[in-house]
């Protein structure tokens, strides 16, 4: 059983405070949903947790099983089991997707298989999330559709098998089949290795699929409301206004 704890986190980007004191605690096997209107700071929070140089943590800390990991290098955080699926992953045209995935298997998972075997493993994983051979042979996210990007992010979660995963809008722009595949992978890792999740979304649908344990609403850099699935249902029916007024 692991715990990822965020304590009184403050984040500044371009000199402006966008996260104004957030505390959250996610345990292994839990699914937390993070909702909130556009621009409220959900993406900033996830980038700051992973250590993006532009998103500066000015106060507060992040611990993993009691160890302070606030200032660890990003790749170190990943090696300790953190994972972020990006809302808008950047295109890296020079690096082939399959090359990247092999590097992940090799560096993070410590696979000692031959490169040929690793390619085979990757092909199989890719098939389960519906990432085609053509995409594997392209530059990372080069000319990918929105849905293909999301599937590719989930594919990497499947390869990296994290202890804790932050998924930033994994369901935006994804077709119904994609949504099902993504939910299945989330559940699979939860079952197999007890992964804990922080899932950022605007839609109740994925949370129904996953049966989220907790729902938080972020507004103007602060958590203004926390509850169970009934909170997500309320937002779905009445909009954000109903929960952020007071």
């Amino acid at each position: 059983m692991s715990v990822l704890k965020i304590q009184d986190l403050h984040v500044e980007v371009e000199g402006k405070e966008v996260i104004k004191g957030i505390s959250l605690e996610v345990k292994s096997g839990e699914i937390h949903a993070l909702m909130g209107p556009n621009g409220s700071g959900k993406t900033s929070l996830s980038l700051a947790i992973m250590g993006h140089p532009k998103y500066k943590i000015t106060k507060g800390r992040i611990t993993l099983d009691g160890e302070d990991i606030t200032n660890l290098e990003t790749d170190e955080k990943v090696k300790r089991g953190l994972f972020l699926a990006f809302q808008n992953p950047v295109e890296i045209s020079g690096v082939k997707l399959s090359t990247l995935l092999v590097a992940e298997l090799n560096r993070v998972r410590g696979s000692s298989d031959s490169v040929m075997q690793m390619f085979q493993t990757i092909r199989e994983y890719a098939k389960t999330v519906g990432v085609s051979e053509t995409l594997l042979n392209r530059g990372v996210f080069e000319g990918f559709s929105g849905g293909e990007k999301k599937r590719t992010e989930i594919l990497q979660m499947l390869i990296l098998r994290p202890k804790f995963a932050i998924l930033d809008e994994p369901d935006s722009g994804v077709d119904v089949d994609g949504l099902r595949v993504i939910s299945e992978i989330v559940n699979k890792l939860k079952k197999e290795i007890n992964t804990g999740y922080l899932i950022i979304t605007h839609y109740r649908r994925i949370l129904d699929y996953l049966n989220a344990d907790k729902v938080h609403v972020l507004y103007k850099g602060k958590i203004v409301s926390s509850g169970d699935m009934s909170l997500a249902r309320l937002i779905d029916e009445k909009g954000y206004e109903s929960v952020i007024k007071n």
Binding site: P53, T74, D75, V78, I92, G94
Partner: protein
């Protein structure tokens, strides 16, 4: 065995050349300074005698010397070359061993250096022939039996001067005459070592052949000459490898490459240049392509401190084509990589493509000076130039000076130039996938030059990979 040495004060030569550039010297004074630097008629005569050259070659050398003294210093020559401390340079260094075709006859210490570079190994595995030049002289030359049977000739040019004087007379410094610029003339006067290859009509060599050049001591000048003649319908892939251990003082390299592709012939010329950081590298590379012929230049110019490389093709026959793919890397304070391909369209329906990629960090400077020229009469010409710069930090600079001279209305000349700064977001993304900063950086750098790496034989791509990764190790914290 006597160890022959002749020396030259290259500093004096560079300084005098720079002064001449600003007309601070009259011809007489320039001549005096050049002679006192050690470059005189008698030096040239001495070299020619050591090589037992025929009269006509000595005349070519002396004519080149004359031109060297007369020609203006090229305006692209940066002034700081004049302030280097290159001082007295071993102009002609004869390694204390005789040429052989058997690695076992090469002294152990020297053999070990080549072993470390993997040269004998790669010869065994996939080369059709190899000439290894140490300092000013070839020490090893061997061509696979099946190529010899087909009539392929591969030997040091000195030997070719004796055995094939007619061919050498016809081609030697014809496409790259000494009159071209000052350092071409210097090369003509002082050339020593190199490779001559002749591929007979219709012979297609499937395994590449290699010329490997090592500067073995500091304060050395290397002036090797590579001449490839591919007869009608033939094919050859020539690989040029360059290496030098790290010295304390500068060495000077002023080599020349001439390629002649006859009708329907195809020459691919690959260079992996990894001179140590105290080599000043001038490389004079030029090719001509007859009707329907194809010239491919692939160059990874990674080493040396100052490098001037402009692979050029004269498309002189109808339907001739040429591509030039060049990677340069300037990875240190004061490093200066000057490159640029030149394509001269001199016949109808000729096509050319240039891809130049430069990588800079730690304050290095990359400069591109390319030329596309379409002559009157060269109708239906097509040229495409892409010039990309990747800068890994703020201290680093890249300049692009493309030139087009187009004298036919229907010419299709396209030019693209892009400057990339390594993006923080890309680096962050890769680090989010468990890849550390250094490795992520090299993934991005290697991705940037992927287009050119694909053209290299596997072994050389791997080698280039390694060199780049080693260089990136020196990279300070990235932005």
């Amino acid at each position: 065995m006597p160890e022959e040495k002749l020396s030259l004060d290259i500093n004096e030569i560079l300084n005098a050349s720079i002064d001449a550039k600003y007309e601070k010297l009259d011809e007489k004074e320039f001549h005096r300074r050049i002679v006192s630097s050690g470059l005189s008629r008698s030096t040239i005569e001495e070299i020619s005698k050591l090589k037992k050259e025929p009269e006509w070659m000595l005349r070519l050398r002396l004519k080149s010397l004359e031109l060297f003294e007369k020609l203006p210093t090229p305006n692209w020559l940066p002034d700081f070359l004049g302030s280097l401390d290159v001082s007295s340079l071993e102009l002609y260094v004869k390694p204390g061993i005789e040429k052989t075709n058997n690695w076992d006859e090469i002294p152990k210490e020297i053999r070990e250096y080549y072993d470390k570079l993997g040269i004998p190994e790669s010869e065994k595995k996939y080369l059709g022939g190899l000439v290894a030049v140490l300092e000013s002289e070839p020490i090893y030359s061997n061509v696979k039996e099946e190529l010899k049977k087909k009539g392929v000739v591969m030997m040091p040019p000195e030997e070719a001067v004796q055995k094939y004087p007619d061919v050498i007379k016809e081609y030697f410094m014809k496409i790259f005459p000494a009159s071209d610029h000052k350092f071409a003339a210097l090369h003509g006067a002082l050339w020593s070592g190199g490779v001559f290859v002749y591929v007979p009509r219709g012979v297609r060599i499937t395994t590449p052949v290699e010329g490997f050049f090592v500067i073995g001591s500091e304060m050395e000048g290397q002036f090797e000459h590579t001449l490839v003649v591919a007869d009608e319908g033939s094919y050859i892939h020539f690989i040029e490898g360059c290496s030098a251990p790290q010295f304390k003082k500068f060495s000077f390299h002023d080599g020349m490459v001439e390629l002649y592709a006859k009708k329907d012939a195809h020459i691919k010329f690959t260079t992996v240049q990894n001179w140590s950081k105290n080599v000043i590298n001038f490389n004079n590379k030029r090719a001509w392509a007859d009707e329907n012929a194809n010239i491919e230049w692939v160059e990874g110019s990674l080493g040396s401190k100052y490098s001037f490389v402009y692979p050029s093709t004269i498309l002189r026959g109808r339907n001739a084509t040429s591509t030039s793919l060049v990677v340069t890397m300037a990875s240190g304070e004061g490093e200066w990589k000057d490159s640029g391909s030149k394509m001269i369209h001199a016949a109808p329906n000729t096509r050319s493509k240039v891809v130049n990629k430069n990588i800079g960090f730690n304050g290095g400077v990359n400069i591109y000076r390319g030329l596309i020229r379409v002559n009157k009469g060269a109708t239906g010409a097509k040229a495409y130039v892409k010039c990309d710069s990747l800068m890994l930090d703020e201290k680093t600079k890249a300049y692009t000076f493309p030139h087009n001279q187009v004298f036919e209305d229907d010419a299709d000349v396209a030019h693209e130039a892009h400057t990339f700064r390594m993006s923080e977001d890309q680096l962050f993304y890769l680090m989010n996938r468990g890849i550390n900063e250094k490795e992520a950086t090299s993934m991005l750098v290697l991705g940037f030059i992927d287009e050119i790496m694909k053209e290299l034989p596997f072994e050389y791509a791997t080698m280039l990979n390694k060199i780049i990764k080693l260089e990136l190790e020196k990279l300070g914290a990235v932005a």
